[in-house]
Symmetry: D2
Subunit: 338 residues, 4 copies
Amino acid sequence: MQIAMIGLGRMGANMVRRLLRAGHECHVYDVSADAVAALVAEGARGAGSVEELVAGLEAPRSVWLMLPAAITGDTVSTLLGALSRGDAIIDGGNSSYRDDIDRAEVAAAQGIDYVDCGTSGGVWGLERGYCLMIGGPDGAVARLSPVFAALAPGVESAPRTPGRDGEPSPAEEGWLHCGASGAGHFVKMVHNGIEYAIMGAYAEGLNIIRNAGAGVRKAEVDAETAPLREPKYYPFDGIDLPEVAEVWRRGSVIGSWLLDLTAEALRQDPHLDQFAGRVSDSGEGRWTSIAAIEEGVAAPLLTSALYSRFASQGSDLFANKVESAQRFQFGGHVEKQQ
Amino acid sequence: MQIAMIGLGRMGANMVRRLLRAGHECHVYDVSADAVAALVAEGARGAGSVEELVAGLEAPRSVWLMLPAAITGDTVSTLLGALSRGDAIIDGGNSSYRDDIDRAEVAAAQGIDYVDCGTSGGVWGLERGYCLMIGGPDGAVARLSPVFAALAPGVESAPRTPGRDGEPSPAEEGWLHCGASGAGHFVKMVHNGIEYAIMGAYAEGLNIIRNAGAGVRKAEVDAETAPLREPKYYPFDGIDLPEVAEVWRRGSVIGSWLLDLTAEALRQDPHLDQFAGRVSDSGEGRWTSIAAIEEGVAAPLLTSALYSRFASQGSDLFANKVESAQRFQFGGHVEKQQ
Amino acid sequence: MQIAMIGLGRMGANMVRRLLRAGHECHVYDVSADAVAALVAEGARGAGSVEELVAGLEAPRSVWLMLPAAITGDTVSTLLGALSRGDAIIDGGNSSYRDDIDRAEVAAAQGIDYVDCGTSGGVWGLERGYCLMIGGPDGAVARLSPVFAALAPGVESAPRTPGRDGEPSPAEEGWLHCGASGAGHFVKMVHNGIEYAIMGAYAEGLNIIRNAGAGVRKAEVDAETAPLREPKYYPFDGIDLPEVAEVWRRGSVIGSWLLDLTAEALRQDPHLDQFAGRVSDSGEGRWTSIAAIEEGVAAPLLTSALYSRFASQGSDLFANKVESAQRFQFGGHVEKQQ
Amino acid sequence: MQIAMIGLGRMGANMVRRLLRAGHECHVYDVSADAVAALVAEGARGAGSVEELVAGLEAPRSVWLMLPAAITGDTVSTLLGALSRGDAIIDGGNSSYRDDIDRAEVAAAQGIDYVDCGTSGGVWGLERGYCLMIGGPDGAVARLSPVFAALAPGVESAPRTPGRDGEPSPAEEGWLHCGASGAGHFVKMVHNGIEYAIMGAYAEGLNIIRNAGAGVRKAEVDAETAPLREPKYYPFDGIDLPEVAEVWRRGSVIGSWLLDLTAEALRQDPHLDQFAGRVSDSGEGRWTSIAAIEEGVAAPLLTSALYSRFASQGSDLFANKVESAQRFQFGGHVEKQQ
């Protein structure tokens, strides 16, 4: 079917490629003329502006946005001016689901369908397919199902869950209509919250193994360092972390795609010397914890993962200074130099 | 090669089967004569006592224990009385790595090798193979390598990590000599700590999605319940959790074996009505957090996962009562009835 | 000076009493005519409606609201219709500081000052005085300073901080102009977040002491319960908690008013049998954690305290069921009955 | 009564002074002759060695140790060789309660009483008195009660808990016999765990207030930084933290001695520029969390406080690098420079 894509970065361009391979007719636009040209060379139809892009489509039009969250809002406004009743906007970026709810309300007043599509797969999606979590009106989602099916990995990308047979459900193909506008990004948001925690779980565990030789390292003897009560139980200096990550990939309970990536990273750079340990967070992790709090639902793991990232960014410095100051006040403790 | 197995429960019996299939000569013993008989019928050689088992082996003997942690210590003592210099004991159960360190010291004084082997794979190991994390003397581990290779899943059970080629390392086959006695159970312990956190991450995320309709449920209006500031952002009642778990299995960043199992559990029983939510913990999770604390290494995720299990067991009841009592004291707040 | 109070519940009525004692002229209104009558008997001037209340005041008028958060918004709207340029509204309740920011904007457009006043002190405030955290325009806050001074505890209620001498600052009297409208409730919000964590700290600590006899209690011997490695280190059954709370009140580093209340609660009911352990949360704790997340600042303690309350309310039940289901899937573990 | 003190550092010397003031006969020893001389000048009787100290005492002897935990064990061994049946050793330092249990067993075999005394009060104890948490045999504790009474702050140091009247209990005087040997340090250990959490609670809260102007600071616009959805709600740049800490000291629910110290620290140095934010931990915090874990009791706040200290010491660097590496692997995300 005919589909337009605005935003041809890492994600958008590869999604167009995957759609072209499946035989869909792709119209593309980006602020970078080079990005447009590259895809035109691969079979897409290019446009020089949003208006030109829209003008080239047949009704009902479907325009997919793959843009940084900060720009999406303005582009949606532009599009709402250019589209007509019955058309659909699909936001496949990392928008807050709250923006979807607000924008869908505005779009619906014009008879335009607003579809949000949380997209997971990263730089690997072209090859592996994208996992799609979708919110929006039933009719629009149904009309767009060939697009979703082309982007999704397909049922054969994982063994079927025992007990599922017959015609695979869309979820088994790798795309799911989760509910009304916003529901797709809501599920994707939680997905990312879970992702943070799984990443953090491996990170903490590997760090514990890396320090398993604490008993044989020269202990500092001073009043500010708690001595190890039984150093004989921490003799394991130098456990081979790349091999540990590798062995867990086969037969263990904790095998996962994130473990595969961890094993690859450790193989390339066993001490990860190229990284400084400043971990960014990109919004969904924050929003997931906020949703938990507003729902009154405990999420200690997901929020701990987020807070560890904040701490890695240095934002707890003042809090730590307060504690050092308190210790100095009540005990005369002077801070230890590193 | 010749190997003896003591303990023919769910794990031990299946490991013997996997070893028999690989052509190894298995001598078996269990307190249950039926368990012995069942494996004799499948080709193992049975014994009626530990002494008889040992008597039937050629030196250097290799005796593998697959027993509950509470019984392992006594059996090791018995074995140390029956074995000779150059023999090896392998503990494949869920012992604390500290017990390994203590026992290896005693065994070494008699010239007996003590090998600890953390084993992951659960009830699925017979089919999938077992992930083996091993500690102990180099010579003994080398001598036992055909046994480890037979139990492990083999390199073909997962795609090779990019950059690894040529002859697969043992870790790529699914078994790893991690270090001295105790190192195997140490790595297995941390593996379980990670497992708790990954399980908890999915659990918390799914719970947040399950409550995404908080804005449309009848809110209680009283001074003891915090009202939702913007209920319009929690309209998603009834998102289909079995389908969400399913869609995440294909193409997403959070695909894993634990997710596969979660999807299967939700398919069978979407509301998990058969469970009461009392989550047991079996030791390794506790020991992992203790190791982090003694090493001076932060592990907020792994410990949160553990504490959530404790709370599910009801152990925080008194702490909660203290807070209710404090609220009553300073604000006259009376506890809300459920 | 002349001040009007709307809302004569536990907090509002006592604040009027404290103002009357200081010689201020108090005009009062409440939906309950009895509440009005009670204070009229103590020297206040009563009104039968908001409009009547406003009509009885001289410009510039000052109307203080002490209402449940859910009602405050409507009352502000009513007041904005009745008041005139130069008047002031003071919200002393538990409103979100975000509502203050929104309402101050509306009020400012009419030339009305909006002052928010976070109030701590609970049922004890009449006797001890109230700690006041204030936001709003400089002029209005200055004009109202006699009211704040009368409500606050006064400098003599605590020893002066070393290094502070001369004329006490308002903060030393117990009231502080924190910043623009909303800043008062922001600081009060964080105050409550801290309060949750201090309460939780005592609660957790007392619970650990209560379980210090874990080594002498009959341990359950089954595969689903982690055995205590060294029970000899948990012999302290029956440590007297009311006396522990009492001894900490004198000379220790952790003395506090919340500890005083805890000691009193434990003296009255050592096992806290009258409480069920269902701990309510009233909004500020949630908003504090949300503020931390939006600021990108780690607050693991404050959020843990909140999540413990959520868990006490039963909201983690489904998450726990997911973990039990996962354990059943991979290990065949059947849930333990309580 | 007659009492000997070994260890005349900050704590030990001041305790001797407090005992002398109460009229007790103090025999003192320290490796520093100057420290001994200083107290002799104030009325104590000095000794040049442990043996000389013991020789100068009448049976039954009472020797109090106020030493770094690392040295206490050896001194106890020396003392056990010098003392006689019926004598008592009191360890007032920061030993692990597990050492008490082990040492009391050895001492009891010689008929010597082992008393452990957790001591809180820091550098302020001389003036305020010490809070004493005591474990050991009934007879020895009773015999030493005049010493405990002299060191403790006395009932008048805090208002009596409502409902307590008549003769004050020892706990009301500031000392408590908690149970058998080790129980004193156990209660003191938990006290310190609570202390960490209360300190952390203020630290986190003040940090949130310090960042309340996040909406008016120039936001970085890039894909690696989550944008603030509603910056209008974070306009409070520059709230005066020293004044906030001060106002909370009067009338609020969160008043405490640690808050008093925090207010003093902030008064001296509002931005705490003299501190680097590297917070030490001294053993008890670790042991408290380990006790919680071994008891199977959740302590998320106390452990979070500990982990925040670990993170401030830089021990989570490798874990953070793992997460940065994972992000690079799946999304091509390059770490942001500070």
